[in-house]
Amino acid sequence: MRLTQGAFSFLPDLTDEQITRQVQYCIDKGWAVNIEFTDDPHPRNTYWELWGHPMFDVPDAAGVMFELNECRKAYKGRHYIRLSAFDATHTWESLRLSFLTDRPTDEPGFVLERQEVEGRSIRYTTRAYAANRPEGARY
């Protein structure tokens, strides 16, 4: 399967040139770009690991791309990596953009477990096949 989290997952994987343009768009808007990675792609896994702090004061996309490449050196192929952009403007104060830049070479996907409970109701649990193994050894 192909994980479709993030703003651009239905497009072919973005090239570094395309990623750079999106990063520059965020910086021009005054947003802080953040790099995160995980090997637990559950849709409710909110807190991916941070690759350093969100970059509040980088003047252009090159700084972010340098860090992204450092992160890739450590995790590429075995983890998902995403970029997100924080907007500190009052009444927003949250993310404005989030998209995947890298995904593991193989994405086995999720199993949907059903527990039949009272009436005809079912309790659903979504479990990533990869998450059966310990963190760091999943992909």
Binding site: M1, A7, F8, S9, Q18, P43, A85, H90, S98, G109
Partner: protein
């Protein structure tokens, strides 16, 4: 500022209260020198008096009939601080290019209204006065809601930002579709459509306004099959999905029962129809707030009173009331789709939903500065006759904080529902990517779509099937400060 003049009654005061019938303008409802207080609620009405009725008297009558007056003088006024409670018409302007009609500005003291109650606000402002005989027609155009009043409401249960955080979706419009055919599918068949659309790439599917609990599909069955579809699509994509389960019912008890069941099944969103009424809407908004539920409002019925310019209530007023009442989604027009929607007027609605401060903008139909004082943002929904080929126009006109709903434009795809959903999602992502790269999407839009279709056969087919579908009719509800009525482009 709220002090009442306690000086002794003069001869003038005595004659004001002698029994009989008096012109409204002489009873204190016309005060051209009045300066509205920061805490006043202000309404602007479009007034069309009967032939021979003076516009000032007509406007003063509207102020009177929507506040303290009755048709004759009553001495019991004098037991009250009646100067304070009287609504004051302070300005009457001719409507541009519309002889025989006027904009009347009327200020209401805050104490005329129960805090936090749309029922009370609307009973006052649009209660009796719309049937008043000396007027041919009357329309409530806009209201200035003071911060002191705004703060008595909870506002949206969830709001745009928290909705995005819960769904983990940022930087692009959300995509939805209404299940079609809207009537007749069994629960099992209905869930099939939900699954296909969500698996294909949509974020949401939606019950239509009149899907409640009919012989062909009872509500429990629909909820159970829909949640199977949502969970299966979620596991198949690794992405949060949802379906607006319509809990509209005949009684509050029915609606609470349906909402509780939706919650128990793990739905992230429920929906209600505007026709359930303001009190029921506020009750459901409070329920949604208590239960971490996103609350979608379908504006069923609004066009009966919002569409014609001379009589009724403008949708911008309904938008303001609904942001106060606390819904999270509201259908606010598409501009390019099949339903009424002048571009300028629609822009006005979208601003009222999403901005924290909306400045006066007569060309957009916004008569007053409106300060929302951090009230959460209301997600506008564009639905009705839109398709992937319009993606550049939709994003240009409506921005990214909007739910774009392609019902026919998903389910009617020649290769099936998943293909339809995929076409929409690819078109959307390609257009956002291009916009962020600084491309001029309005002009390059068709080219961007064609490029994206190169790696997406379903999009190519969608562009081909719907290439000539447009709904270019002149709008009926347009701002008067724009010289020409505008057709969607």
């Amino acid at each position: 500022m709220n002090a009442i003049d306690k000086t002794k009654p003069t001869e003038e005061t005595r004659s004001r209260y002698s029994a009989g019938v008096m012109e409204y303008r002489k009873m204190g409802y016309w005060q051209p020198d009045y300066e509205p207080k920061d805490t006043d609620i202000i309404a602007v009405f479009r007034i069309t008096p009967q032939d021979g009725v003076d516009e000032i008297e007509a406007s003063a009558a509207v102020a009177g009939e929507s506040s303290t007056a009755t048709w004759t003088v009553v001495w019991t006024d004098r037991l009250t601080a009646c100067d304070k409670y009287r609504a004051k018409c302070y300005r009457v302007d001719p409507v541009p290019n519309a002889p025989g009609s006027w904009f009347a500005y009327i200020a209401y003291d805050l104490d005329l209204f129960e805090p936090g109650s749309i029922a009370n606000l609307s009973a006052s402002i649009i209660g009796n006065v719309f049937g008043f005989k000396p007027l041919k027609a009357l329309r409530l155009e806009d209201m200035r809601l003071p911060v002191a009043y705004v703060k008595t409401f909870d506002g949206p249960a969830t709001g745009i930002v928290v909705e995005r955080e819960r769904l983990d979706k940022f930087g692009r419009p959300l995509l939805g579709a209404t299940v079609k055919p809207k009537l007749g599918l069994s629960g099992r068949n209905y869930g099939r459509v939900v699954y296909e659309a969500l698996k294909g790439g949509l974020d949401f599917t939606k019950d239509d306004e009149n899907i409640n609990s009919q012989p062909f599909m009872h509500w429990r069955d629909r909820f159970l099959y829909c949640m199977e579809a949502v969970n299966k699509a979620q596991a198949g994509t690794g992405e949060i999905k949802g379906t607006y389960l319509n809990v509209t019912g005949a009684t509050m008890e029915d609606m609470y029962e349906r909402a509780e069941f939706a919650k128990q099944l793990g739905s992230s969103i429920i929906m209600i129809d505007l026709i359930i009424g303001y009190t029921a809407i506020q009750s459901m908004a409070k329920w949604a707030r208590r239960n971490d539920m996103i609350l979608h409002l379908h504006r069923a019925g609004h066009s009966t009173y919002t569409r014609q310019k001379n009589h009724g209530v403008s949708f911008r007023v309904i938008t303001k009331w609904m942001r106060l009442a606390g819904v999270d989604h509201i259908h606010a027009g598409t501009v390019v789709g099949k339903l009424e929607g002048d571009p300028h007027t629609t822009k006005g609605y979208y601003d009222l939903c999403r901005e924290d401060f909306v400045p006066q903008n007569l060309a957009h139909g916004i008569f007053f500065d409106q300060d929302w004082a951090s009230t959460r943002k209301l997600m506008p929904v564009a639905s009705g006759g839109i398709h992937a080929g319009q993606m550049h126009q939709l994003i240009d006109l409506l921005g990214e904080d909007v739910v774009l709903q392609f019902g026919g434009g998903t389910i009617g795809h020649p290769m099936g529902i998943q293909a339809g959903a995929q076409a929409n999602r690819v078109a959307l992502e390609a257009m956002i990517l291009a916009r962020n790269e600084g491309r001029d999407i309005v002009h390059e839009g068709p080219e961007i779509l064609k490029e994206a279709a190169r790696h997406c056969m379903p999009l190519k087919q969608a562009l081909e099937v719907w290439k000539d579908v447009t709904f270019n009719y002149t709008s009926t509800d347009t701002p008067d400060f724009v010289p020409q009525a505008t057709a969607a482009e």
